[in-house]
């Protein structure tokens, strides 16, 4: 047994697209949808939804694995002894494919292109429950992306008389189809031509850290990924080398990367697929070599929280320790199920000259999620921001979460200072444009 099928629910919990459940009782998909909707409804009252929900209505045990994207729920149903991990891996791949086809995945785009979604569904998931073709390059040969061209063809080809190939109508379609799987490399289309050849790399590093009550860093790790966008003609064979590959550890690669080569000399040798793809994932290994070497955290928080009866007060001081400007700094605190309201004042204690009163921060209290949120759009180096406030609660002993969630972004910065040495092209003769960008973000848990 494998993946029984895939269902897409709109934000109201109604199915908009679902794969064929012809081998199953008609109630089968409905029961899963119902189980999910019930669980979601319950979760509104507090607590979180388990991503795997057991559905025991049938003699054979089954479960529904669900992921939220753009307000919609994508759910894959599995039964028997299937591995939920495969279901999630498939869901992620499918969503990735939709992103690739439509740019954004939203209710509107799916409704606009539902025929393409159905085609993709049939091509990626066989009725036996096994994934078929999930490589985006191979898929785009079979299912045409909704670009201008395909729209054009839909209107032109039946009526246009003088299309180059001799056959009337559909000539493009047939060439397209015979082109399917013509490529000897599964992840790359054959015969790509570009006037302007370029490949761009985005190195995105994500810090995940926990700071204890005493302000000591309990754990901080940085996970990076190299996103690429390739527009290269022919069959380019690339070799990417780094000046400091030793900062990368525990890597994972796109199937195009020759693993042997990486193990041997830490260079990435690959024939890229067309378009966007993630070349590699890695974890940043700080060079000191210590077993538990934490990456320094680029900001610090001083929190004074006094819990009283029916509420409490707090004073939070957020200080930047980064040399770079941090953007979209966001601090969140869950105030507990019984929280009613919150009231805060903002101020910024300046670094240096008279920076008091710069109102580039804002706070909100989400009374549905009981979440206090403090946002600072732009946080210059070594500045301090203060949030004072209080909240009220229905119960005598309030029960807020004992940790702040802090998120931040630092443009053109990387924790690992990973540096690309060079990118060599072989197999093709043209000159290509190359580009590398760095970006960092983080998500911290700061306990109090």
């Amino acid at each position: 047994m494998a993946i029984d099928g895939l269902i897409i629910l709109d934000p109201a919990g109604r199915p908009i697209i679902q794969s064929s459940y012809s081998c199953y009782p008609t109630a089968y998909p409905m029961l899963h949808i119902e189980a999910l909707n019930n669980a979601l409804e319950k979760a509104l009252r507090g607590g979180s939804v388990d991503p795997v929900i057991y559905v025991a209505e049938f003699s054979c045990s089954s479960a529904c694995c669900h992921v939220e994207v753009g307000g919609m729920r994508f759910l894959a149903t599995i039964s028997g002894d299937a591995d939920p991990l495969i279901a999630f891996a498939f869901l992620d791949t499918f969503i990735e494919i939709l992103h690739d086809y439509f740019g954004t995945v939203s209710l509107a785009t799916l409704k606009d292109n539902f025929d393409i979604v159905y085609q993709l569904l049939e091509e990626t998931l066989d009725s036996s429950g096994h994934p078929l073709t999930t490589s985006q390059n191979a898929l785009s040969d079979i299912v045409l992306p909704p670009t201008l061209i395909s729209k054009l063809l839909a209107s032109v080809s039946p009526s246009a008389p003088g299309v180059p190939s001799g056959r009337q109508g559909g000539s493009f379609g047939l060439t397209g189809a015979s082109g399917a799987f013509a490529s000897p490399i599964p992840w790359r289309k054959a015969g790509v031509r570009h006037n302007h050849n370029e490949i761009l790399f985005d190195v995105v590093e994500d810090m995940r850290a926990i700071v204890g009550k005493n302000g000591m860093t309990l754990v901080s790790n940085v996970f990076g990924k190299i996103e690429s966008n390739s527009k290269l003609s022919g069959t380019p064979d690339l070799t990417l080398t780094f000046t400091n590959p030793s900062v990368m550890t525990d890597c994972a690669f796109h199937p195009c990367v020759r693993l042997q080569r990486w193990t041997r000399d830490n260079s990435l040798s690959f024939v890229p697929p067309e378009g966007r793809f993630i070349l590699a994932d890695y974890q940043y290994k700080p060079p000191q070599g210590a077993v538990i070497s934490n990456v320094p955290i680029p900001l610090s928080l001083k929190a004074n929280v006094d819990m009283g009866e029916f509420g409490g007060t707090f004073t939070l001081t957020l200080t930047s320790r980064s040399m770079k400007v941090m953007e979209n700094v966001e601090l969140e605190l869950y105030l507990g199920e019984d929280a009613i309201s919150a009231q805060c004042t903002l101020s910024s204690a300046g670094s240096g000259v008279g920076s008091v009163g710069s109102a580039d921060g804002s706070w909100t209290f989400d009374s549905r999620k009981k979440m206090l949120r403090w946002e600072i759009l732009n946080m210059r180096s070594s500045g301090s921001w203060i949030l004072r406030g209080s909240w009220t609660s229905k119960i005598k002993a309030p029960r807020p979460a004992h940790a702040f969630q802090i998120r931040f972004e630092i443009p053109s910065f990387s924790f690992s200072s990973l540096k690309v040495d060079q990118l060599r092209l072989s197999g093709e003769t043209y000159k290509m444009y190359k580009g590398v960008r760095m970006r960092s973000k983080g998500s911290l848990e700061w306990r109090w």
């Binding site: 908009i16 012809s22 607590g47 979180s48 939804v49 991503p51 795997v52 045990s61 694995c65 992921v67 002894d81 299937a82 591995d83 939920p84 498939f90 869901l91 992620d92 409704k111 539902f114 085609q119 049939e122 009725s127 999930t134 909704p146 201008l148 729209k151 054009l152 839909a154 209107s155 180059p164 559909g170 379609g173 397209g176 399917a180 799987f181 000897p184 570009h194 006037n195 302007h196 926990i210 204890g212 009550k213 754990v219 996970f223 069959t235 064979d237 199937p255 693993l259 193990t263 041997r264 994932d281 538990i292 869950y334 199920e337 119960i395 005598k396 979460a401 004992h402 969630q405 197999g427």
Partner: protein
């Protein structure tokens, strides 16, 4: 509309040439109309009438529009089978776009409308010869989807034809169709296996994965068909697509378990090499740890977990931990698997326990799993840090997480006995919390800790009378201050302090403190625990207390409990109590313990009039209680005490009519058994062993199953006992089958001709692929005759080195030796751990308690 943009979009655009560009302007208006997918999707049902007319029109555009409307109807679950005849006519259309939509319709409707599909079966058969592989595959998929047993023979012919198709894509569809035909009609088993044999010989890595999958589905017991393909499958593993890798690895694990010899532990090995085929499988699978697909990473980890020798197991730790960062959903599933691995091999993750710390924004299930894993990783070295973590988690906003965290503190005390004082201090701190849930959980854990502690110092205590505990009590109350003031971060006083002095006194002081806070402890279960503790351990030898033989803090507890006896039910319906804990049916638990407490105290001080009055009061209330158990308990205790304590069950009619019953019984049967005080003491106080915690047993459910993630029994463990469906993870065979069976024609030529093959590929401008190169780089192995590879010596006993030496042809001897030593140390260390674990279990078993009918509250819960 500039030319650059067009060119960038598709190579095919250039074929349309300038001419189309001229017409763009005219058609853009049409485009918006046609591509208004949203309006099609939300179209009103009455427009559906036109569909048939549109399908029969001559214009492809009209037909396309109609097909889209149809598919929109499908997704709204409207009946669409009435359009079947009109749709099938278009199956031979020249417009590929249209044909694809037609086939999507057919894939949907053919299974539910087999009769209609049968009528057009010729069309599908014709399409099997279509020039486009896409159409051929679609036709085959539609054919195999028609679930009418009578057509199975026709479908079988189609499958056989497609199995020899030049396009691997069609062959892939053929493999999947094999599975469907088998499900349709099992009579074709033999023919299907024949087709599978052909498919398994496939040279293309694209279709090989599904061929293996089909074999696994159709003929799971025919693993012997894989003999000749085993080595090739291993080698091409990196080239198969990700989903195929998952399936192939799963089958290969099963193959290895059934066909290869069981690996001998390195210590016991006598000269002979580790099995080469197993080595080949692991070596080829290892690079897949670097796959981006989490399912593949798990499949490789699973292969290593079930196949690899202990020295190679360490390789699975980092990749498994990496899965935790992929997404929240995958983290949830991966943690369930990680827990199983961590319980059986904690050493793999001990150094990376910080990766598993709980975050407050984790989902509940994730938090609870993380706590379980952290607990499995607890050692003498890291227990301080873990204890601090668990204390933090006790403030979580989720009740079940709080319970797990506090429970974990108790477990730490048990796992690392020297840490007990710190754990107790932490728990005592929680008693003062304002959150009821923290208090009650802490009390429960304290109770079992205290109880176990009081039992362990002297094993003789189980045979002596209860008051013998009091010999350990020298100055209980003053010690309270010293114990509770130990800060958590205090230097470990573990090995230095003799356990008899520190740990034996602390528990009684804890009970004393609990006794003082009885008013604040409102959770019925926790309250019952405190009452039981006070009764069981509230004994003192010698004078010096207000009531001889009874600790100073005990009497007041009885007084308070007696006073609240009547209102024990409504006590818990306080407005802010979580409803789950305010159930009135739990209150009898407290009443039962109040009765026991009263009986015990009167027994200890039989002459104290206050006790006797309190006991009499409580027993009287119990007699008229609405709860059956409470009445029973009261009656039983009363008759026990009759002979031991004068006046509890008075015969002078002081308590009115109710006493007539006991009078009658006493008077009516003077020869009835009346126990002396010592005997009653024995009955009430003896046989209280520590609570037995259910130990985490090694999980029998294999990794990578729904049953494991949902913590349920595997549905297939018992249902399918017939021999045809072998278990997914069989036991090793002691002796493998003859490796010569795995020799195939492939091996010799491939090893020799691998270099020309690579050249051939690269001359076409296609890069060599990793598997081929791996085969070519490795000059070794696997030829049946040649056990004589250049380095085929004992140096390669260790697989690590084997692998290292494969990539780096020459390495320093010293380094290799070091590695070997390290590996040996590792395996030794893990071996020791396992031993000690077993010892613990045994000792736990010995503590298995005898019978106890009264008091232990933690067991009342189950009744």
């Amino acid at each position: 509309m500039d030319g650059i943009n067009l060119n960038a979009l598709s190579e095919n655009a250039s074929r349309l040439g300038m001419r189309i560009q001229e017409t763009i302007a005219e058609h853009t208006r049409d485009l918006t109309l046609i591509r208004g997918g949203g309006s099609l999707f939300d179209m009103a049902d009455d427009k559906a009438k036109n569909i048939t007319k549109q399908l029969e029109s001559s214009s492809d555009r009209e037909k396309l529009d109609a097909m889209k409307r149809l598919i929109a109807l499908i997704s709204k679950n409207r009946p669409v089978s009435s359009y079947f005849p009109a749709v099938v006519k278009n199956v031979a259309s020249t417009n590929l776009e249209l044909r694809k939509l037609v086939y999507i319709y057919l894939l949907r409707c053919a299974p539910s409308e087999p009769d209609l599909a049968l009528l057009s079966i010729n069309t599908f058969q014709r399409d099997l010869a279509d020039p486009s592989p896409l159409i051929r595959a679609m036709a085959l998929r539609v054919l195999s989807g028609i679930r009418v047993p009578t057509v199975a023979a026709i479908v079988l012919m189609a499958v056989r034809k497609s199995a020899a198709d030049p396009s691997p894509y069609v062959r892939k569809a053929a493999s999947l169709a094999v599975m469907k035909v088998y499900r349709l009609d099992q009579a074709h088993y033999a023919a299907l296996v024949d087709i599978l044999v052909t498919l398994l010989r496939d040279r293309s890595s694209l279709s090989l994965g599904t061929a293996v999958l089909a074999l696994d589905n159709v003929a799971p017991s025919r693993l012997d068909l894989l003999h000749v393909h085993f080595r090739r499958l291993c080698r091409v593993l990196p080239d198969i697509d990700a989903w195929g890798q998952v399936d192939v690895l799963r089958v290969l694990v099963r193959y290895a378990r059934t066909m290869l010899p069981k690996p001998v532990p390195e210590s016991e090995r006598q000269g002979d090499e580790e099995d080469k085929d197993l080595k080949l499988l692991l070596v080829c699978a290892e690079p897949l740890f670097m796959s981006k697909n989490p399912a593949v990473v798990l499949a490789v980890a699973r292969a290593f977990y079930y196949l690899a020798p202990p020295s190679m197991l360490s390789k699975i730790a980092a990749p498994l931990l990496r899965l935790l960062n992929v997404s929240r959903e995958i983290e949830r599933v991966a943690l369930a698997y990680l827990l199983v691995v961590a319980r059986s091999h904690p050493t793999l993750f001990v150094n990376s326990h910080t990766r598993l710390l709980v975050r407050t924004d984790d989902a509940e299930q994730v938090k609870r799993n993380k706590i379980c894993i952290l607990l499995a990783l607890c050692t003498v070295d890291n227990h301080q840090a873990l204890l601090r973590e668990f204390v933090d988690y006790a403030q979580d906003t989720d009740d079940s997480v709080v319970g797990d965290a506090i429970d974990a503190i108790g477990r730490i005390a048990r796992l690392v006995p020297p840490s007990t004082p710190q754990c107790l201090t932490a728990l005592m701190g929680m008693i003062n919390s304002k959150q009821d849930i923290i208090v009650s959980n802490a009390v429960l854990v304290l109770k079992s800790l205290v109880q176990n502690q009081l039992l362990t110092p002297s094993s003789a205590s189980t045979t002596t009378l209860a008051p013998s505990f009091s010999s350990q009590l020298t100055s209980s109350v003053p010690s309270l201050i010293s114990t509770t003031s130990i800060p958590l971060s205090a230097p470990p006083q573990m090995s230095s302090a003799p356990p008899s002095t520190t740990t034996a006194q602390a528990p009684l002081s804890i009970i004393a403190q609990l006794a003082r806070r009885i008013d604040d402890i409102r959770h019925p279960h926790a309250r019952a625990c405190v009452l039981w503790l006070v009764g069981q351990y509230g004994t003192v030898t010698g004078a010096g207390t207000m009531v001889d033989g009874v600790a100073d803090w005990a009497p007041d507890v009885l007084r308070k409990a007696a006073r609240s006896f009547k209102i024990e039910v409504c006590f818990f319906n306080l407005p802010h109590h979580p409803p789950a804990h305010a159930n009135s049916y739990q209150a009898p638990l407290v009443k039962l313990q109040t009765l026991t407490l009263a009986a015990k105290l009167t027994l200890l001080a039989p002459v104290n009039r206050t006790f006797i009055l309190l006991a009499r009061y409580v027993l009287t209330l119990a007699r008229y209680d609405e709860d059956w158990d409470v009445r029973d308990r009261g009656r039983m205790l009363a008759s026990l005490l009759v002979g031991a304590v004068a006046g509890v069950v008075s015969s002078d009619g002081e308590e009115g009519t109710g006493d007539r019953w006991s009078n009658e019984e006493q008077g009516g049967r003077p020869s009835g058994v009346v126990l002396r005080r010592e005997q009653v003491m024995r009955v009430l106080f003896e046989g209280k062993t520590g609570t037995i915690e259910e130990e985490a047993v090694a999980d029998s459910r294999p990794l990578g199953t729904l049953a494991l993630v949902m913590e349920r029994d595997s549905p297939y463990l018992h249902e399918h006992d017939d021999e045809d469906t072998p278990v997914d993870l069989p036991e090793w065979l002691e002796q493998g089958i003859d490796p010569a069976l795995r020799d195939s024609d492939d091996d010799t030529p491939q090893a020799v001709s691998s270099t020309p093959v690579v050249q051939a590929i690269s001359s076409q401008g296609i890069p060599s692929q990793h598997a081929v190169s791996s085969a070519s780089v490795t000059p070794i192995v696997l030829t049946p005759t040649g056990g004589s590879t250049p380095k085929d010596t004992k140096d390669w006993r260790d697989l690590d080195k084997f692998y290292a030496s494969e990539s780096e042809s020459e390495e320093g001897e010293e380094e290799e030796e070091e590695e070997e030593e390290e590996a040996e140390e590792e395996s030794e260390a893990s071996g020791n751990d396992e031993d000690s674990g077993e010892d613990d279990e045994n000792s736990e078993d010995e503590e298995e308690e005898v019978g106890k009918y009264d008091s232990d509250p933690s067991h009342d819960r189950t009744q």
